[in-house]
Subunit: 195 residues, 2 copies
Amino acid sequence: MSSRKIGIVVYPDSEELDWAGPYEVFTMAAQVGGDLEVVTISQHEGPVRCAKGLRILPDHSFETAPQLDVVLVPGGEGSRVEMDNPVMLDWLVKAAESCTWVTSVCTGSILLAKSGLATGCEITTHWAYITTLRELAPHVTVRENIRYVRDGRIVTAAGVSAGIDMSLWLVGELFDADHSRKTRRFMEYDPEPPY
Amino acid sequence: MSSRKIGIVVYPDSEELDWAGPYEVFTMAAQVGGDLEVVTISQHEGPVRCAKGLRILPDHSFETAPQLDVVLVPGGEGSRVEMDNPVMLDWLVKAAESCTWVTSVCTGSILLAKSGLATGCEITTHWAYITTLRELAPHVTVRENIRYVRDGRIVTAAGVSAGIDMSLWLVGELFDADHSRKTRRFMEYDPEPPY
């Protein structure tokens, strides 16, 4: 039997922790045990320069990406460009066909809104983007002051680090609460912000 | 005046969030305002494949790396290889000469111990590595059940996600508490682990 697949979409100027947090959670959940594979996917082959300058080499282009069970769209400055990129939006709609969960972090939710995938849904985003998202996407309901929102198969996280919490919740759905607890334990995720 | 520079060392099988968490914190601290540049550094040029399969393109090799004010060593399975790599250990000692802070995340602390940089210091590591670190490095004191430890200019974090908390503490030292709070706010780092 082939593994369940999680595809993390990366694009120019996507925010590093938006995708790196969920990447760590899901790959750690796979290491803890169980049937799960995590791949990074971008429109084109070759390096992608992220929002703060980190360059990564994605595993797949849109053309070579496998069929997915979960798709995750990060946010970042580049989301303002990608929300008007029909190749990105069309690919998301097509990739979502096989997905049990369609998810985003931070301003990535604008891509779920613009693609039509989140039409009629409650979603969230980075606190500084709430008003803009409401203006740009009147066909969705934007919730604020919430860590992540689940509406059917659409799950959207608040800003940047909120993707870690959302992903741990998804691990609970994909496996069970105990699997998520073990994943958290191996990430030693017992946060203590100093300020 | 040239910027203060933070160098994040990456090596084969370094754990993704160990370096990506601090990378996000420090680059966000720079965006919030202030004199700070963050670069990734590896022994060789070209792509580095990390512990869970992510491939990144570091900014510098050991040869081209700029003079640093802060050096950060992540952990991961590859630390078991790098702790016996004299090129890595020699480079760390040399890079540390100009550094105000010499730091590690997770099992990265074994490299600070093996290089001699942490000799006589209190350090910490991932909970699952405490006993091994004590055996491998009898010339350091290994503390457990603590998020991060500061001993002089040596600052070491516990496992994986603890690097985020340590880095926010360092932002408080490099700037001030308010700068760290702003950085945290833009990362929306108000963790709510679901399980």
